[in-house]
Amino acid sequence: MSEERYKYQGIGRELQKQLLTSWYDRLQSAFGDGRKVAYLFVPGNIAEFLRVFDFELVFPEVNALQCGVRKLSGDLILKAEDVGYSSDVCGYVKNDIGMVLAGNVGPSGHTLPKPDLLLCTYCGCTTFIKWFEALSHYYNVPLVMLDIPYLREGKIEEVDRQYVVAQLKELAVICEKITGKRYDHEKLVEITRHSAEAEDLWVQILHSAKHKPSPFDSYFEAVFFMAPIYVLRGLPECTRYYREAMREIQERIDHGIGPIPEEKFRVVIEGPPPWPHFRAFWELLKKWGVCAVASSYSKVGGYWDHGFRHDPSRPLESIAEYCLTCYTNLSLPMRTDLLRQYAEEYDADAIVIHSVKSCRSFSVGQADMRDQFIRKWDIPTLLIESDLADPRYFQVAQLRNRIDAFFESLEHKRLVQVG
């Protein structure tokens, strides 16, 4: 794929790495130079709003997943368990608290600055609240809440939108106090304009997976390609990144190349990846020529592919809508239906659910989803279980058996149908 004749191949990964490294550099150097630091979650992150006040942004989840990829999470989780955290709670929380206990050295070796603003963007997962309450305890910094009502009725209610907008206005006052900078509406308009541009490009990349074969793996590759839209959104370099990344995808389309040598099965994947065994997991599926053409995890921090954009003409309202519609904030029936739609839109052969033991937010209800996919819509569905952060739960032999059996039977079915 990265042969000489291709100009852009590999650029999505490379540029992403560079951008993240310089972001971590910037964070490390924020010590004592007057720049203010905000901690927040990826889902429902109000990066645009905070950039008005020039906050540097830290995302504890991104640190946790990076620790997972770099195989640091096992030790960090043990550190948290040493101080009393149960083996049964969210692995991300333990990974992060382990990191704080170990001197707040991030996954890339950078020491991370303490939060000036600990902003709990409570967007679906209740563990978020417990997580930031714990950070508030360890950092001795007060927690500021941005409460995002769950989409319990299957859609945005006007009262929910108003509640979020009202909280944003209150938050502006808090941010002004912390940073000494005024809330500047024009600046927010400008920032949301950058966001919308980047979002357009990101959606083009996601939609490219409708091609056959798909030029892009919407799970195993998307989890890297999505990083800038989550952590750098609103900055011009974010848009630049997606322009470059789109070139890579276009080139793949033009030359009929894709993430695997030969696409045999198109699947939709639900659930976060097993970060400490990311490669191994991918290999288990690649072996069967599996390409993920859509996934829910790539929507945790924003769901744009059915039309939503940050809107410079109504920035606060659109930020509220963005928070309300992140994947983590969708009700279970909405999630189920979204995955079903993806299977249809992207012409997938199956749905694969990676159920994460320590993440009840995602996993409770997945067995039921599977049941519905199979019974109601006749979509073959595989449910496998491990963890997103805790390497102890990845049983490779067991996973291989389940995956092999599933795709063997799909292959068999196909042969019978063709015959």
């Binding site: 997962c125 209740t126 309450e133 305890h137 279970l332 009840r360 209800g365």
Partner: protein
């Protein structure tokens, strides 16, 4: 006339019966009456009450049924109350409940509300998003609207308007109930030898299954009876239980703790009965009154964000108010809110040199002997070394 002890045993048989005998009885007397089941920890029971409905606590199966069907729906790494509640639903054992309310206490309860819909299609399910931004001026407005939404749905179900006066009458009844519960808890704290936690629990749990007026009458009658008992005070250590706010521990577990030498002078069991520590004001806008009470005057709990006063401070206040010798952290297995808070509260206990003991429970526990031994050792260490 039955003695106090005999009454308690009769109530116990009611709360042990998962076929909901009191609810069936109520329905036989109120033929068109609707019942609203409420998952813990707290839901606004004033609303169904004002609509002439019966609000009923749904606390799982307490180990009384085998989990056969729910296992294929909810993974094994989830607390027992969620799995056994779903089991009851799948077996049709909650069919007496016309509506089921799930509050936003944790990811499990939230998703359970979603799992419910396709699995128990004839039951109306509501998920209530409680406000978590206690500092926002917009929170009462938001939560008032959420209450209005719930009320609207109850109105359609009842086929009639629910008046402001009816809501205020309900608030009044539940204020009375909270006041009586407070008195009961005060007895347990000041003179714990007069009333065991087992007895207090049975009395309070009964209240989740019968109309509030009836429960008020029962409490009113038993309070003087309790005051008139005269067992000898024992040389027990005074402990507080923390962690059982949602899934309830087996009754045997409470008995074992007490038999091992503890007076449980405070706990967070059946928390909804003591959710508001002051009366909810009766005003022109009862929904706003309930909303403001939730935001400004709720008791601390792991499933409600605390606003400007960290939970650990409120936890310490409870310890001091009740003159506690030690804390027993006992949380349901797999209960994330309790297990995550445990570390912070335990740290605070260490900082303040407060003794503590920790264990987990499940609805279905085979034996309590190892817990008995742990509690006995704890009691000894508190008595002799501190």
């Amino acid at each position: 006339m039955m003695t106090f002890e005999e009454n308690i045993e009769q109530y116990r048989s009611i709360i042990d019966d998962v076929s909901l005998p009191t609810v069936r009885e109520w329905k036989s007397k109120h033929l068109a009456g609707k019942v609203v089941g409420m998952f813990p920890v707290y839901t606004p029971f004033e609303l169904p009450h004002a609509a002439g409905m019966l609000p009923v606590g749904v606390y799982g199966a307490g180990g009384k049924v085998e989990i056969d069907h729910a296992d294929s729906r909810i993974q094994s790494f989830v607390c027992s109350i969620a799995r056994s509640t779903l089991e009851l639903g799948l077996r049709g054992m909650l069919n007496e409940l016309d509506v089921l309310w799930f509050p936003s206490i944790c990811d499990v309860a939230r998703n359970l509300s979603g799992v419910w819909k396709p699995n128990v299609p004839n039951q109306h399910v509501e998920y209530i998003h409680f406000p978590q931004n206690m500092m926002s001026a917009a929170a009462p407005v938001y939560y008032r609207a959420e209450l209005q939404r719930l009320l609207g749905n109850l109105q359609s179900l009842a086929g009639q308007e629910i008046s402001r006066d009816a809501l205020n009458r309900s608030i009044h009844q539940f204020n009375r109930n909270r006041e009586l519960s407070r008195t009961l808890y005060r007895i347990k704290s000041v003179t714990p030898w007069l009333l065991s936690t087992y007895e207090a629990y049975v009395l309070m749990r009964l209240g989740t299954l019968i109309p509030v007026e009836e429960h008020n009458r029962i409490l009113q009658n038993v309070l003087p009876e309790i005051q008139n008992r005269n067992p000898k005070p024992r040389d027990y250590v005074r402990v507080m239980l923390e962690g059982g706010f949602c899934e309830q521990p087996p009754l045997e577990l409470m008995q074992v703790i007490e038999e091992a030498g503890c007076y449980i002078v405070n706990d967070d069991l059946l928390l909804h009965t003591r959710w508001f520590e002051e009366p909810v004001p009766v005003t022109d806008d009862p929904l706003l009154s309930l909303a403001e009470a939730y935001i400004h005057r709720s008791r601390y709990s792991s499933v409600r964000h605390y606003g400007n006063k960290p939970r650990k401070e409120q936890f310490l206040e409870k310890i001091r108010e009740n003159n506690v010798d030690g804390v027993i952290f006992c949380a349901p297995k797999f209960c994330e809110p309790a297990l995550l808070d445990y570390v912070l509260l335990k740290d605070e206990s260490e900082k303040q040199s407060i003794n503590y003991l920790t264990f987990e429970y499940e609805e279905k526990m085979g034996t309590f002997e190892s817990i008995r031994t742990q509690v006995e050792t704890f009691v000894e260490s508190v008595m002799f070394f501190s």
